[in-house]
């Protein structure tokens, strides 16, 4: 019990003091429990086992690689390979389903949208922007205005063959002449034509210049843009009466377009991406809010027709 005579022994516990003291608080030399020592030895054994099994000790040019041959890079590769195996059947299914039929399979459609979202971030954002909102000369893919058409099959065709892709016969081409530069129209005539387009798009009030321009438009522009200036998707001629302008709808920008013409380009992708990826991109772009349903309905109608035939 209390050992007042020996100052090296704590009276309450009978344990020896270590001799360390902080502000009157002293350290006791309490023995550790023996089992604790065993857990300590066990953890040493574990550490040795770990060093043998796993990469552990850095060397001059290398490191000890461990018996299991594990590496974080290898683990990542395994995970990526596993993921690839996981999505392979989905990609196969997407590649094997025509885009018109895809719409009838919501799950595949959803997978395609997500796959397209990922591919878009890699291949398309450079021009169309990360939100697909485009910019001057690069179409906004979120809206409902399409140069060549906004249904799934048409978008896919645009992706496959591109626009004005040199040396590719199937690519989409539209030829807007440089009316001013090539002196097809005089400078005042170009001004009049521009004035007409401004009126046709309800941005300006009718004027004498616009009236002169109307005649010029009918003679020079309506071939592609239509007599009502609503454009022609078969030719890739934009609708000039709506609220969306690829190169700007102000007088100055329209003047530029008429004088010099515009020749936007988009690469063909069929030589760079797999059919499944292109299909997924088309589905993703279609899902952004402006996708058109016409062809899907047509396909559904066609399907019904086939069934009808079978029934007969």
């Amino acid at each position: 019990m209390a050992d007042d005579k020996n100052p090296k022994i704590d009276a309450a516990t009978g344990t020896q003091f270590k001799g360390h003291e902080w502000d009157g608080i002293q350290e006791l030399d309490t023995p550790l429990p023996r089992w604790w020592l065993w857990t300590f030895y066990a953890s040493i054994l574990f550490a040795i086992g770990y060093v043998i099994a796993y990469p552990a000790i850095p060397m001059l040019n290398d490191y000890t690689r461990g018996m299991l041959g594990w590496s974080s890079r290898g683990a990542l590769e395994q995970e990526l390979a596993a993921r690839a195996d996981q999505v392979a059947p989905i990609h196969q299914a997407i590649a094997a389903t025509t885009i018109e039929k895809l719409a009838g399979q919501p799950q595949l459609m959803q997978a395609a949208i997500e796959g397209g979202r990922a591919a878009f971030k890699v291949h398309c954002v450079q021009c169309h922007g990360s939100g697909a909102a485009g910019g001057k000369g690069y179409p906004n893919l979120n809206d409902d205005d399409w140069l060549w058409g906004g249904d799934l099959a048409t978008i896919e065709k645009t992706l496959i063959d591109g626009i004005r892709n040199p040396g590719h016969d199937a690519t989409r081409v539209s030829m807007m002449p440089a009316f001013g530069r090539d002196q097809l129209l005089t400078a005042p005539q170009v001004d009049d034509a521009v004035a007409y387009v401004r009126v046709a798009s309800r941005q300006d009030k009718p004027s004498a210049a616009a009236q002169r321009g109307a005649t010029l438009f009918a003679d020079n522009c309506a071939v592609c843009h239509g007599t009502d200036a609503k454009g022609n998707r078969a030719l890739g001629a934009p609708n000039l009466t709506d609220g969306i302008w690829l190169y700007g709808g102000d007088t100055e920008s329209i003047h530029q377009s008429v004088w010099n013409s515009r020749q936007g380009v988009m690469p063909r992708w069929d030589d760079k991406l797999s059919p499944a990826t292109i299909r997924m991109l088309a589905v993703y772009v279609h899902s952004l809010g402006g996708g058109e349903a016409t062809l899907v309905e047509a396909a559904a109608a066609a399907d019904n027709g086939v069934e009808g035939n079978v029934a007969q």
């Binding site: 516990t13 344990t15 023995p31 922007g129 909102a133 906004n140 402006g290």
Partner: protein, 478 residues
Amino acid sequence: MLMPTDTSDLYEKRKGVFPKAVDGFYRRLKWAIMVVTLGIYWVTPWIRWDRGPYAPDQAVLVDMANRRFYMFDIEIWPHEFYYVAGLLVMAGVGLFLVTSAVGRAWCGYACPQTVWTDLFQHVERFIDGDRNAQVRLAKARWTPSKLARRLAKWSVWLIIAFLTGGAWIFYFADAPTLQREFWSGTAAPVAYGTTALLTATTFVLGGFMREQVCIYMCPWPRIQTAMLDEKSLVVTYKDWRGEKRGSVKKAAAHPGEFGDCIDCDQCVAVCPTGIDIREGPQIGCITCALCIDACDKVMAQVGRPRGLIDYCTQDDADAEKQGAAPRPVLKTLLRPRTIAYLLVWSSIGAAMLFALGARTRLDIAAQQDRNPIFVTLSDGAVRNAYTIKIRNMETRPRPMTVRAEGLPGALLWTDAMAREQARATVDVTVPPDSVAKLRLYAAVPAAGPQRQDFRFVLTATDREGGTASEPARFERPQ
């Protein structure tokens, strides 16, 4: 004494503890608490609770996969995790309350380490006999009969440990299904892993580590000793009454010279942590009160008043030393500190109950597309897109509508609709107990403020009704 005076050795071997069986008020209380706590632990996952066809029928279920926590009529979603946080705070304050009032009562009665050790010790007495037989057997050489006894004891421990570890997993899945899967070998590996781990820890901690857990591993005793004060009840040997110790014979021979303690060491014999309470309060004492029972029995036998060892506060002990009469235990419980804890504890509980009662069963959240923020459509209208999440916490499908309040002329449609179908409201049926995610488009004429605040209002259109709303913003090009 807990620590050896011999410091020549850096490590101390565990001293065997062979607590003697005892009977009495506190022992019976401990039996009752053991039955209740073990009963709760083993029975709870098997209680069924009807929640309709769309939700599990297990009364208490932690559904990790679907991120739901069910407790009878209460269903907690992950976003309501603050209820669990609240429960933890209550547990913390509850610990303060209990400790400041009755000391280490948690340790002595309710701690799983105590309860399972108690159970294991009971098995030990059943197979090996009481204290003396156990001591003899421990010292004996390894003979076949000792081996047989040991194997028998370990087997029973192992069975209990397995039942303990195995019961845990039933809180995390449908119990009957999981049990079938478990025995047919088709349960998830984590079920077997958890069972194996908890079986091992129960076996080792309850069978072999016992008081070592309390003395060396557990942080609770340190925290609890810090929270005790001189008004907390602790198991106290009333030395002013007991000293000087001496047998009944000696006391009879020398009246007035000896105290009430007859130095029979019964209090030490029954102590599950193997300490001598007569050396004063110490960290090894889990306040199981078994020494009180033991000493009371001795006092009854020798015809002296009970309570030589008893629950007593430090202050009362000092007062009694000065000759005051013992204060009834109940009187020590109510004091400003415990009342303050009780108020905090119960107001948190009341606030949580109130919040539970008042919580809405449906909710809407809206996130505006930021890239692009707006899209001009060919007819000149401006479109914003939103990701809408509608939460239906009822366990049945519910029809709802969403409209944009404060956004004049707004037409809404979803990505599953054509713009021609856009209306002022969008109808959606939200599946039971789930969150429906919608991509919602809103279009308004181009003329208007660049930024316009409005609200998405969600209305349930079934009989129960109900509504929720979420602020949102519409943006136009400059």
